[in-house]
């Protein structure tokens, strides 16, 4: 029962953050700020949904001793880790590409990268 509540809580938190991320994606003014919203929040949200699955799998594994639930948890864990790693690197790559292609951070108080030339 506690496990169910925990799973539901994780799911709710995940979906909440994902929603906020999408809102940020739709609402923020330029690429970089949008990227803030999406990278952090959708990664975090998806991690939480994955966490819900992991908890579910772990609880089921403990209660039924069926090894497939352990497989579920481990695979989900791998998916979540891969997600975190690729998301961070990917948004760095997009940010770099966007800056190199000449998109300026439109409301910006300071842009040190513009001044630096390799």
């Amino acid at each position: 029962m506690i496990a169910d509540i925990l799973v539901l809580a994780c799911l709710s938190v995940g979906i909440l953050f994902n929603t906020l991320g999408i809102v940020g994606l739709l609402r923020f003014p330029d690429v970089y700020t949008r990227m803030h919203a999406t990278t952090k929040m959708t990664t975090f949200g998806s991690m939480f949904t994955a966490l819900a699955v992991i908890i579910f799998g772990a609880v089921q594994f403990i209660s039924t001793a069926d090894s497939q639930y352990m497989t579920l948890s481990l695979h989900t864990l791998i998916a979540a880790l891969a997600l975190a790693l690729t998301n961070a690197v990917g948004s760095h790559a997009i940010a770099r590409g966007a800056h190199r292609s000449g998109i300026k951070p439109s409301p910006a108080v300071v842009d040190r990268l513009e001044e630096w030339s390799p």
Binding site: R34, T38, T49, L72, I94, G97
Partner: protein
Amino acid sequence: MIDPWYVAAFLLVILVCLALVRLFLGPTPADRAVAVDTVNTLSVAVLILLGVAYQQIIFIDVAIVYAVLSFVSTLYIAKYLGGEL
């Protein structure tokens, strides 16, 4: 009793469709790339949730493939945007 996994997946699919709006509007290709990247992340979550909802453990493999491989296309887009390809 509605299965919570389905509900969560449904909500995430709605979010995917909302990301489509940014894909449509996005003034620069970078915006679109961000939208696609977001959708990748959400899709992995959707796939995991649906896999649990169908009670098919093996479906999670699809999510892993997705998580790893969508990254590659993001990198290609970023490299092209940066003029490095």
